[in-house]
Amino acid sequence: MKAIDRAEVQQKINSFAEADVYLHLETTNGAYATHNDESFFSAGAYIRNALIRYEHGKIVGDGPFRVGLKLEIGWVYGEGLTHFEIDDQGRLLLAGLDFTGKLAVALQISPSPFE
């Protein structure tokens, strides 16, 4: 993965618009967050292989970035995104890595189901 290139990511987001795509969306502060700091409230969410179709999507911000996908009857949104890769299967993998390099958020779009 490399640092997000906004234009390249926007182009890839556009290429998936109005098509059936599979979504991986995840936020996490790690399973040890409360163990390491008992005052920390741990929360996260995860969805894998949600079949969606968006009208359009945007990447916004100066980094870390935000990505929003407008669905016919809803929204998908992720913030804190810093890195990306378009992998050999043509999938758009976006991740937010914290200051120590640990993944905090992932938003991934694929034309075929994730394994």
Binding site: M1, E26, G30, Y46, D87, L103, F114
Partner: protein, 223 residues
């Protein structure tokens, strides 16, 4: 350390075996005892992707699978089983089905010792669910026929509630293998290992104790 017939180690993530148990595994193998490691997931949801990142969410499982094989080789584990569950979902699996998988291992291997996490004292939901499943499986065996069940506990309340660990294995004799196993899980341990150099140089006592003394609590059966 007692001589065992067969040791069955059951953890959910590649690298769970490395930190607190790999010395005990290596000692048993050097002793001629076969060790089976059943690893439930491939740690697909690990947060460490290397720094700078050399993995993605999607390539991480393949990388960690190889790291697991490398760690097993470093320890001499000949029987490595990967169960194909998914990281962070173990507690949501069907309990009975998971218990059945563990019972099948026990029936097949007839271990004299099983090592897993202590339910209630192992922090990560996958650790807890794995420990609970192993306890359920062993509980179904008549008390006099049960293999020993040694558990790893590291939650902040473990010493207060479980007391001092009953079993402390000195693994100094195999510490090179242990360190090799930890390093094999490169995607997860590289940044941690990088901070060791200085401590190893100065023979930092806390560091040496952490590596050389492996601590286990025998599971306290209600019946």
């Amino acid at each position: 350390m007692e001589k065992e017939r067969h040791v069955l180690v059951i953890f959910p993530h590649p690298d769970d075996e490395a930190f607190g148990v790999s010395g005990t595994i290596a000692l048993n193998i050097e002793n001629g005892t076969p060790v089976t490691y059943a690893c439930l997931t491939l740690g697909e949801m690990g947060r460490n992707l290397g720094n700078p990142p050399f993995a993605t969410r999607e390539s991480l499982p393949k990388i960690r699978r190889q790291e697991l094989v490398d760690a097993a080789n470093a320890l001499g584990i000949q029987d490595l089983r990967m169960l194909g569950l998914r990281d962070k979902t173990v507690e949501f699996e069907d309990d009975e089905e998971l218990t059945g998988k563990i019972s099948a291992f026990i029936d097949e291997l007839n271990p004299s010792l099983i090592i897993t996490f202590y339910p209630g004292y192992s922090v990560h939901p996958d650790h807890e669910a794995t420990g609970r499943a192993v306890v359920r499986a062993v509980e179904r065996i008549a008390p006099e026929e049960r293999p020993k069940l040694h558990c790893v506990a590291f939650s902040n309340n473990s010493l207060a509630e479980l007391g001092e660990p009953e079993i402390i294995n000195d693994v100094t004799a195999v510490e090179d293998k242990k360190i090799a196993a930890i390093k094999a899980h490169r995607s997860q341990t590289e940044s941690m290992v990088a901070t060791w150099a200085e401590k190893m140089q100065s023979q930092d006592p806390a560091m040496l104790t952490w590596i050389r003394k492996e601590r286990f609590w025998p599971y306290k059966w209600k019946r």
